[in-house]
């Protein structure tokens, strides 16, 4: 193995050593239950509330509007099902997009079985949602609009602020899955006009197993779980204290690191420029309205899993939207929604950067990829 380059930061990130250090005492030393009244319990409770403040500060929210969950997926489920169940008498219509994360899409599909109507909006070739489509989809029965802030595969950043304004004017609850943007680009819940916002710690150098849902004051949800009243009844279950403390530390650091995250644009564009030199290669997603750390390509005549396997042999960790790399054996719904044919979607490669990456990493990937693509094309009956 010549190299070890991680370019899959949108899948997960390493826990920052400072985050791990902050978490550590809460396993065996400060192990109290935050619901307990004695000193050990109070110190855990205090740590959770400090973490809540840090997460609130990251998104411009008030502390009491942040609720900790077990993951980004759980936050999406709570936002969507919680709104749907609470507003059943008002209406049964939900608007979302065809490129949402499965945590949103499959939650909506589940609600369809229970009698809710869901509109899945199309996207442009670049992966953008048209706000006129949102407006036209609204009916008297619409109770929720859920549009992701940025897409996890192709990195396209949606006009969330404008869609949020529309929802606000119509009095419809607006949720945004910000798992890929919180800690990556500046984010303010008031500017974005969101009522509900999902986040995940492990996408921003925090631990896995902890997420958060921002719930605007005055928005009411039906909880998914019922129990002992934790998180003000919104998410009962003894708090994951070390995880929450880690999330708080990660949010604090993310605020400081935002300029570094935004500087990833330079590396990203260098990567895109270098890789598009390869014949019959294309960029998926929008040229400018995209996450600073996301590059997603497709290469004609070859399949993504094979690319990932050879990249791995060369020490590069990356991902693909090819069916062959998923348990479902379906090509990525996001790439399909862009209008790509299945064989085009199969040839996709996602490289997502993080603050650990350097120009040398980019140069290395740009230097090895033409050989990998060439080798697979030599084998491919589709290649010219």
């Amino acid at each position: 193995m010549v190299s070890s380059i991680y370019m899959d930061y949108s899948s997960t990130t390493p826990v920052d050593p400072a985050v791990a250090e902050a978490m550590y005492p809460f396993f065996s030393e400060k192990y109290g239950n935050p619901s307990s009244l004695y000193t050990k319990g109070r110190e855990a409770k205090k740590a959770i509330e400090e973490a809540r403040q840090e997460v609130a500060d990251l998104i411009g929210a008030r502390k009491e509007e942040v609720f900790f969950t077990g993951s980004g997926t759980e936050s999406d489920n709570l936002a969507i099902k919680g709104t749907a169940y609470k507003n059943r008498k008002k209406g049964n219509h939900i608007i979302t997009s065809s490129i949402e994360h499965h945590a949103v899409l499959n939650t909506c599909k589940f609600l369809e079985i229970q009698g809710f109507d869901v509109t899945y909006l199309p996207v442009s070739r670049e992966g953008l949602i048209n706000q006129d489509d949102v407006e036209n989809a609204i009916t008297g029965k619409t109770i929720l609009i859920s549009i992701m802030h940025a897409n996890n595969e192709i990195g396209t950043i949606q006009p969330v602020r404008e869609i949020g304004k529309l929802a606000k004017d119509m009095g419809i609850t607006f949720h945004s899955d910000a798992v890929q943007t919180a800690g990556k680009i500046p984010l303010n819940v008031d500017e974005l006009n969101v009522d509900l916002l999902s986040m995940s710690a492990h996408k921003m150098y925090g631990p896995k197993g902890v997420g958060a849902l921002y719930i605007r004051k005055g928005i009411h949800l039906e909880p998914l779980l019922h129990g002992g009243g934790h998180e003000r009844n919104m998410r009962p279950g003894t708090e994951n204290v070390p995880g929450i403390v880690g999330f708080g530390k990660a949010a604090e650091l993310a605020k400081k690191h935002l300029p570094d995250e935004e500087k990833l644009v330079i590396l990203r564009d260098s990567l895109i420029k270098g890789i598009l030199e390869i014949e019959d290669s294309y960029l998926n997603g929008h040229a400018t309205k995209r996450l600073p750390n996301n590059a997603n390509f497709r290469f004609s005549f070859i399949e993504g899993e094979s690319m990932i396997l050879i990249l791995d042999m060369k020490g590069v960790a990356a991902s693909t939207g090819s069916a062959c790399s998923s348990a479902s054996l379906e090509p990525s719904h996001v790439l399909s929604a862009l209008g790509l044919k299945p064989e085009e979607a199969h040839g996709s490669l996602r490289l997502t950067l993080g603050i650990g990456n350097t120009q040398e990493d980019v140069d290395y990937v740009v230097s090895v990829l033409p050989g990998i693509v060439g080798k697979l094309r030599m084998m491919s009956p589709l290649a010219r």
Binding site: F301, E303, E305, I310, C324, L329, E343, H346, M379, P381
Partner: protein, 127 residues
């Protein structure tokens, strides 16, 4: 993905045997579908009822490429009758197994070989 790929699969994937076309092939088998992500073309050259040469071109995942490579090794030198008896399971077994999810979609090599033999038999008027 690599989860469940044996060392043998990875070895054949990294160093595939008999890649390419046979220009004056006696039979060509084309199986799979690029829509599903796997497409396999097998070329054979037959002499005295034996597979004298066999090559492949494959678009697909690691399992698709490894099974293509493996079948060329298994079938080379066999009689037509012997080659027709190679099953999908034989190919998977020779690779020390495939992940369950890959058994159906990417394990097309035996089908490709049989299609190439069928093509040869039809072209040569033996069927």
């Amino acid at each position: 993905m690599t989860d469940g790929y044996s060392e043998k699969v990875m070895e054949h994937f990294a160093n595939p045997r008999n890649v390419g076309e046979i220009k004056d092939a006696d039979g060509i088998g084309k199986v799979g579908n690029p829509t599903c992500g796997d497409l396999m073309w097998i070329y054979i050259k037959v002499k005295d009822n034996r597979l004298e040469d066999i090559k492949f071109k494959t678009f697909g995942c690691g399992a698709a490429i490894a099974t293509s490579s493996m079948i060329t090794e298994l079938a080379r030198g066999m009689t037509i009758e012997e080659a027709l008896e190679i099953t999908r399971k034989d190919v998977a077994d020779a690779l020390d197994g495939l992940p369950p999810v890959k058994m159906h979609c990417s394990n097309l090599a035996a089908d490709g070989l049989h299609a190439a033999i069928k093509d040869y038999l039809e072209k040569s008027g033996k069927k």
